[in-house]
Symmetry: C2
Subunit: 352 residues, 2 copies
């Protein structure tokens, strides 16, 4: 099928579907659960309850520096489980393919997904394939009236075990555990994913790659070493500003120090050039972590040991908040104070 394109027949449930599943999905994701190719995968009873999450991935371009939609669909979903203190075990994979998609692209995306699943130690145990006609272009890039261009959406659902390494981390995770003085850490430089995708869309040549990555190594190390973690959130759509606004409470806010927020020089320059605010830029391999302040040195040391966390930094603290006060404040480099609110939309082409 190497030189072929996907047609509606591949989504019909007939022999074209069967062959696509056998030749590509079943062979790339092979494992005893998937191999039965039944309506549902039968799984062993996980230790200590389960965590369940889902995400759809609609990114364009499908392939970008640092990753592709397949790698993203694995990392994004396992990260959502890790953020809840759950260890990812199983994934589902739902493909919605636009008629006309090059088989070679699908093949490359599925293989990337399989590689990343192996790296993240999860099994793709069940899936679904649909083919639709005449998409324009996901991401709003196509002019109205543009004809089909071979798009692809992927939905992954992740099932995780709520206990790992004998510890049920979740009991201590959640914004109800936040206290004044807790430290707010980010695991590395911000903005790379969105800057990368925008660069590709705008045809700007630069060296910026997406930070797309699984966060399990860092989370596992923090929890294994007994760092008193209050809460974790991956910093995706809406950026750090949006995530922090979601975790503040009526009685507790967050104060950020602009000069502590880690950023690559090239990403900072890119944001400056286009007038983008780093605080709202999406990432796909970064998380924010609130820890008890007395554990902050240890937490930073642990993150710095991980190759994905070398630029981890304390970017702010949890503060008392009175009625009517904004939830998130930024101390600017110049010594000013700025309210960090939630945007209505992106003000940018949406990208993840």
């Amino acid at each position: 099928m190497k030189n072929e394109r996907i047609t509606l027949a591949h989504g019909s449930g007939g022999s074209a579907t069967r062959d696509l599943i056998a030749d590509l999905f079943a062979s790339c994701f092979a494992n005893p659960f998937l191999d039965r190719l039944e309506d549902a995968a039968l799984l062993a009873r996980p230790e200590g309850g389960v965590a369940l999450t889902t995400d759809s991935y609609v990114i364009t371009p499908l392939v970008f520096p640092g990753g592709d939609i397949g790698k993203l669909a694995v990392c994004g979903t396992v990260n959502d489980l890790w953020m809840m203190g759950a260890e990812p075990r199983f994934l589902t994979a739902g493909f919605i393919i636009e008629e006309g998609l090059d088989y070679a692209i699908l093949d490359s995306v599925v293989k990337s997904m399989a590689r990343e699943a192996a790296a993240q130690n999860v099994l793709v145990v069940t899936g679904d394939t649909k083919v639709v006609g005449a998409l324009g272009s996901s991401g709003g890039q196509a002019a109205a009236g543009q004809t089909a261009t071979g798009g692809l959406f992927i939905n992954t659902c992740g099932l995780g075990s709520r206990v790992f390494q004998g510890v049920s981390a979740e009991k201590s995770l959640g914004r109800e555990h936040l206290r004044e003085g807790d430290a707010v850490l980010v695991s590395g430089v911000l903005g790379n994913h969105q800057a990368c995708i925008l660069s590709r869309r705008l045809g700007i040549e630069n060296g910026i790659a997406s930070d797309c990555a699984g966060l399990g190594g860092m989370v596992r190390a923090l929890l294994r070493e007994g760092v008193r973690v209050k809460l974790m959130r991956d910093i995706t759509r809406g950026g750090l500003a949006t995530v922090l606004n979601e975790i503040v409470r009526d009685d507790l806010g967050i104060r950020l120090e602009e000069r502590e927020i880690p950023v690559d020089g090239e990403v900072e320059a890119f944001c400056g050039l286009l007038g983008l605010d780093l605080l709202y830029m999406a990432n796909e391999g970064k998380f924010v972590c609130v820890v008890e302040n007395r554990d902050v040195t240890r937490a930073l040391a642990i993150l710095h040991q991980n190759e994905l966390g070398t630029r981890a930094a304390v970017v702010g603290h949890v503060t008392a908040r009175n009625q009517g006060e904004p939830g998130v404040l930024l101390m600017t480099r110049l010594g000013g104070i700025r309210v960090v609110d939630v945007l209505y939309g992106e003000g940018l082409p949406r990208i993840c």
Copy 2:
């Protein structure tokens, strides 16, 4: 928002997304797991292992006689779990919305989904919303170059408990348990869903409604009464012919009796008029069930007691199969024999 349309801002992760989630999804699907609105839902440890399934729904039109894409997204996924002898417990819901979709349509679909989830006794515990620009029309109906029309795709993932009513049914389910002489039952009339959707697409006025429904009542009754069920499959994409070809083995085939296959008069006439083969027509509330022949009378009686199973019938039997022989044969009404093979595609606009 009643008179509004969905825009890209609703998928940005900003306040428009937050409001859409709060006003619609969280309020319609409210339950203690979803209400936390975290990255993943934390669930209790299910009894006896879990079954996991996923399906994406890309049907047009979004609303049709007998159901809509929301009802379908619940029924289709719970049915996949029931077919494996697992009791559906939790659903995820991933919405991919085309910019321009009327809020009123989304509202109606989500409410329908919530009603059906309640009827099927499952909780929607986590979800995801993405908005994309410029879809043409799912289902391949749009002429190339047609502008955005407000489409909607829904992915649901279902988590089921592998034990219900104290019985682990799965041990006895699977094609490895088939034996020569086993009876092949279908739970009711075939073809209604696809005939309904095709009628709407072709602008044909008739009384045909989709059979979209959850199969839990019938499955539960069969297993509770101890009927020796060998295997169940819901008869969706590709119809009875495709499902049966998936379950035959190298050493066992299936012989169907055409005169026993239940069909509504209006659907039969519709198929005749358009030259459609009932055996390949999709359904969304029917299943095939293979039982030990000595239990067939009891199985039929149980199905007939359910309002969804009043037309259940024995349509064939499992037969010995020699090397090189076709897997599924049809004894026609006129006494002939026809090989029932798998089609390459649909030969029809795809509809489910």
